[in-house]
């Protein structure tokens, strides 16, 4: 088990590494965005000094041909400098070295100029985290409860209603739900704040601000869990060991709690664990729509502004979260049900 876990984590690290490397080359091949263009000389020199420091740019006191793209020619007290973009592979080396040796992911160029990308993430992450945790805490029990209810009342009107609603809500795009909620709850009836409250707002107002993000985030996972739990429970309910449990004299409730639920939860629990890993990601649509300064919103603005360093850190988080959730999902199967041996050879 331990060996397998280590192997999986190692593989995931390699995968993350390959993904980030690929992304780095693809993104960087677009060229350095000179955001200081058109500004004063000393601002530009400062900008390029930072780029040199990060290892993306190199400067010469004379023109060189065939080295790379000439980005700018600037004059300071020491004379004229020619700034060249370093070859991609050298940039990659510098980037990797900074991360490995100093855990320095570079600085932002547009979003918050010259602030370290890690710092920006640190500022943005807590908001996303808070919303996601509240949403998971609410949606997981609710989804499970609905799923159990529907599963136990299989083929009754309760089951049909729940299944139909799940079908509908899982099909409607998420941003449609958010828009409609905002229209009816914020604009038409003005019950809730129409935008994420500022940190200065009162506690009551802040709590009111949680309602739309949490409810809209919960829709999907409540539906997912309801469907999942219902399917698992239905399968278990028709199994022979449950029939045996009933024939040996257990009441229906006893049979359900002692046998059916326990077995139905074997595949469900791992996905709950994976869900908790997922709280580190941010929802891009929600954060954009509701004006939340989280990491999902950051991702969109990093793409739109071509702020590559921030984009890379954000992407690293999203990738790691995705891979980690997969590992947790697989590993926890083995913990919950010892009969399952992940990765075992046939």
């Amino acid at each position: 088990m331990l060996k397998y876990s280590i192997k999986r984590i190692f593989l995931a690290l390699i995968t993350a590494f390959i993904i980030l490397t690929l992304t780095f080359f693809l993104v960087k091949s677009l060229g350095i965005q000179d955001t200081s263009f058109g500004q004063k000389e000393h601002v530009r020199i400062a900008f390029f000094a930072n780029q040199i420091n990060l290892g993306y740019v190199v400067r010469f006191d004379h023109e060189v041909s065939g080295y790379g793209r000439l980005l700018a020619t600037l004059t300071d007290s020491e004379g004229v400098w020619y700034y060249y973009e370093r070859p991609l592979i050298e940039q990659y080396g510098a980037w990797l070295k900074n991360i490995v040796t100093k855990w320095d992911w570079g600085t932002s160029t547009v979003i918050e100029p010259n602030v370290s990308a890690i710092e920006i993430i640190k500022q943005r992450l807590p908001v996303s985290l808070k919303i996601n945790i509240v949403s998971v805490v609410i949606s997981v029990p609710l989804g499970i409860a609905l799923g159990i209810w529907a599963g136990l009342k299989k083929n009754t009107w309760i089951d049909h209603t729940i299944s139909t609603l799940v079908m509908i809500f899982i099909s409607i795009p998420y941003f449609v739900i958010v828009s409609l909620m905002m229209y009816f709850l914020c604009f038409k009836n003005q019950l809730l704040p129409s935008i994420w409250p500022s940190p200065n707002a009162t506690t009551g107002y802040k709590i009111a601000g949680y309602i739309i993000p949490v409810v809209s985030l919960s829709f999907g996972s409540v539906c997912g869990y309801t469907r999942f739990v219902r399917a698992e429970l239905c399968e278990v309910m028709s199994s022979e060991y449950l029939l045996l449990a009933r024939t040996k004299g257990l009441t229906k409730n006893q049979a359900i709690t002692r046998h059916a639920l326990k077995n139905a939860f074997v595949p469900i629990l791992p996905s709950i664990l994976a869900e908790f890993i997922g709280v580190f990601g941010g929802s891009m649509v929600l954060e954009k729509l509701y004006g939340i300064n989280g990491i999902g919103d950051l991702y969109i603005s990093a793409i739109n502004n071509k702020d590559y360093n921030v984009l890379m850190v954000d992407m690293a988080i999203f990738t790691t979260v995705g891979l980690l959730a997969g590992i947790i999902l697989d590993l926890s199967y083995g913990f919950i049900d010892p009969r399952i041996r992940m990765g075992e050879k046939k």
Partner: protein
């Protein structure tokens, strides 16, 4: 041994069965022939397809979904071809934001909206003449107008008067987050902003206005009367100049003051006193720990510089709260900066203190005087903020039914140029002939004939008179224009009043056609991606599953890495890389990771079937790998693979809509996501522009999923009930 009826004996029969009326002889063998034969089926043998269709039909919801889907696909094909409206470019301004119209009257889906709480201009003594803003609501469209009594409102508008401004800030906050708020002042019409250090002095009798949308400054003097007065002002600024010298600017009684929307009115006489400030009483606002203060602006008595110079000197601005009004709490000082784009005053939270209303002050422009209806506001960029700005402003509100079609497309009195009149004449809709002997001298024409020939097409309501004609000369040529009543929809070329089933958007496009064109593009993208991904995934999965071993291992690792990349990352890289996102880029981005699902499904199916006896039998007979894959394994696996993969189409539509919605999608092509994204800002004002596309995309998704699930259940009954 042949059995006879004697071999059968009844034993232990209950009493009542021992009825002597039924005798052994009453029973006969149906068949005594010892050999039995199979009879032929009387019904026809069914095929797999027929059986599937039968099973599918039993699933009522899937059948309904299939019909809905069929109808939507049909509409997506037919509507863009059949609709006469042009959605490729913005329409005429009169077509902007028309409400959805299906019925003629009735109050529902008939092109009308019920407007509530619209401020009316109550300056006229005759209450029947009170109307809402005529630039927003044209007279012809208004019906069932009812006007409320005077109300106190927390949100000032151009027609409210007598209100109080709150200038406040959150007591416990620091001001770091406020640095991006630009404060500009707004006057009616609201799109004009005036920047503080850009206005001229009174003597020049000019007011420089900036249009917010174009950075070009221009001078205007017809929007506001020159040299007009405004009401009381309650701001005081202490400021320091560049050398750190301290000044106090007092705002004085505004006698000769520009009517501009700036709190810094140019003073030339007495300072004014602090106005009373009233705290907000409603909503969330009372919850804030706010301090209230008034500020005054007064000129340093020692200063000899002109007013304009003083303003240009302001580099650093300190706003000092009035402690006496702040319940004796110690207030922090805070500073702001004036620069050439406006005023930054970080201490004031403009969410809460924004505009203030000129209090029934008279505007005198030398000859006339009238009540000022202009208002001032700090214009923050956050237009969605529902925070209160002015407290207890007095206003009359109206509710009425507004017919957008009647208002903008119906009868309108307007000036028409001769080129257009001539065009109507050329088309044979109108006959016009008039003649002057000497056009520069005569007022009345010698002959004048104007006859409408084609009353269906000619936009004129009735023939105009020569008095409606305005003649003018330029370069020895004579031109004319006519001011008359026309039916505007006929001017646009419609014979009858057009009906826009889904309304029109903010650029005058027919939403009905636009939405279904978007749906068509989304569907095309979905189907194209499905076909490409399906074929590639099938090939990949077949090779990986059939050969197994090292080949499988390497191919699996590859898909592992690829599927580890979040799809939005792949999408953005492709989009960033190609710099523009068109249909093909998008399809490519979706295909990059889209095939993985099909591939892994195919792989499992191949694992399942490749060891079967019939495959082995074929192989021993010498069948090649290709033949085994194509002729034996694939046909068996196909049903499962194709039905599961069909659900890729709604997924692709969903992904496209999401990414378009985030603003990274199609740039020059419509799709449901693009439409929803474009119309997002209309949510408060024209919700139908979002609701119709939202309903269509929801219907498509629901129908596709139900249909896909039904199809899968029908083709693979063993999978029934499984949701994934």
């Amino acid at each position: 041994m042949k059995k006879t009826d004697k071999d059968f004996e009844f034993t232990n029969l209950p009493e009542e069965c021992n009825d002597s009326s039924i005798k052994k002889e009453d029973f006969k063998f149906v068949k005594v022939d010892p050999s039995f034969h199979e009879t032929k089926f009387e019904t026809k043998p069914t095929t797999f397809l027929k059986d599937s269709v039968k099973r599918f039909r039993k699933n009522k919801s899937s059948v309904v979904a299939a019909y809905v889907l069929g109808a939507l696909v049909l509409l997506a094909i037919v509507v863009p071809l059949a609709s006469p409206y042009d959605v490729s470019k913005p329409g005429d301004t009169s077509l902007y934001n028309l409400q959805p119209k299906l019925f003629n009257g009735g109050g529902f889906w008939d092109g009308t909206t019920t407007m509530k709480n619209i401020a009316v201009d109550a300056s006229d003594p005759d209450q029947t003449k009170w109307r809402p803003d005529p630039t927003r609501f044209l007279e012809d469209g208004i019906s069932n107008l009812t006007i409320s009594n005077a109300q106190y409102t927390d949100q000032a508008n151009e027609y409210s008067r007598e209100g109080y401004v709150n200038v406040g800030y959150f007591g416990s906050s620091n001001f770091t987050s406020l640095n991006s708020r630009v404060c500009t002042a707004t006057l009616k019409p609201a799109q004009y902003s005036i920047y503080l250090n850009e206005f001229d002095t009174v003597n020049e009798e000019k007011i420089k206005l900036y249009n917010e949308y174009y950075d070009e400054p221009y001078l205007t003097d017809d929007i506001l009367p020159k040299n007009s007065e405004l009401g009381e002002v309650t701001l005081q600024f202490n400021y320091e100049d560049e050398e750190g010298k301290h000044f106090v600017i007092d705002l004085l009684t505004p006698k000769k003051v520009h009517n501009i929307g700036s709190p810094l009115l140019l003073p030339d006489t007495e300072p004014i006193d602090i106005s009373p400030i009233i705290l907000a009483k409603s909503g969330f606002t009372t919850e804030f720990n706010r301090y209230w203060f008034s500020i005054k602006v007064s000129k340093d008595p020692l200063s000899t510089s002109s007013d304009k110079d003083i303003l240009s000197l302001i580099k650093k601005l300190t706003i000092m709260p009035d402690v006496s009004l702040a319940s004796s709490k110690v207030l922090e000082y805070f500073t702001g900066y004036l620069n050439n784009v406006g005023v930054y005053i970080p201490g004031i939270n403009f969410d809460n203190a924004g505009s203030f209303v000129a209090r029934s002050s008279l505007i005198k422009d030398g000859v006339n005087s009238f009540t000022n209806t202009g208002y001032w506001s700090f214009n923050e960029y956050d237009i969605n903020s529902s925070f209160k700005k002015v407290h207890l402003a007095v206003c009359h509100f109206a509710s009425f039914t507004y017919d957008t079609y009647k208002a903008t497309l119906g009868k309108r009195n307007m000036v028409i140029e001769d080129s257009e009149i001539n065009e109507w004449c050329d088309k044979g809709w109108l006959y016009l002939s008039f003649d002057y002997d000497d056009i520069t001298l005569e007022i009345y024409p010698d002959t004048f004939v104007c006859v409408i020939l084609n009353s269906d097409r000619c936009p004129l309501v009735e023939p105009f008179d020569y008095t409606d004609i305005y003649l003018y000369h330029y370069d020895d040529e004579t031109f004319f224009s006519v001011k008359t009543d026309i039916l505007y929809y006929k001017k646009l070329g419609y014979v009858t009043m057009p009906k826009f089933l889904f309304g029109t958007d903010k650029t005058g496009r027919d939403m009905f056609k636009y939405v279904f064109e978007g749906l068509r593009n989304s569907l095309l993208l979905g189907i194209l991606t499905f076909v490409v991904c399906f074929l590639f995934g099938l090939l990949w999965g077949a090779i990986s599953g059939y050969f197994g071993g090292t080949v499988d291992l390497v191919m699996e690792r590859f898909t592992d890495i690829l599927s580890g990349v979040p799809w939005i990352v792949v999408m953005t890289i492709v989009i960033l890389k190609t710099e523009k996102s068109n249909f093909w880029t998008f399809a490519l981005a979706l295909c990059l990771t889209g095939w993985i699902g099909t591939a892994s499904l195919t792989r499992t199916q191949f694992y399942r079937f490749r060891g079967r006896e019939y495959v082995l039998a074929s192989r021993t007979l010498g069948a090649s790998d290709a033949r085994l894959i194509a002729k034996h394994i694939l046909p068996n696996a196909m049903g499962t693979i194709i039905t599961s993969s069909v659900l890729m189409i709604p997924t692709v539509i969903f992904e496209e809509a999401t990414i378009s919605y985030l603003g990274l999608g199609f740039k020059n092509l419509s799709s449901l996501g693009v439409i929803l994204s474009n119309n997002q800002n209309e949510l408060t004002t024209h919700p139908y522009q979002l609701i119709f596309p939202a309903v269509v995309i929801a219907l498509v998704m629901i129908a596709f999923n139900l249909f896909g699930n039904g199809l899968r259940d029908a083709i693979n009954p063993s999978l029934k009930g499984e949701e994934e």
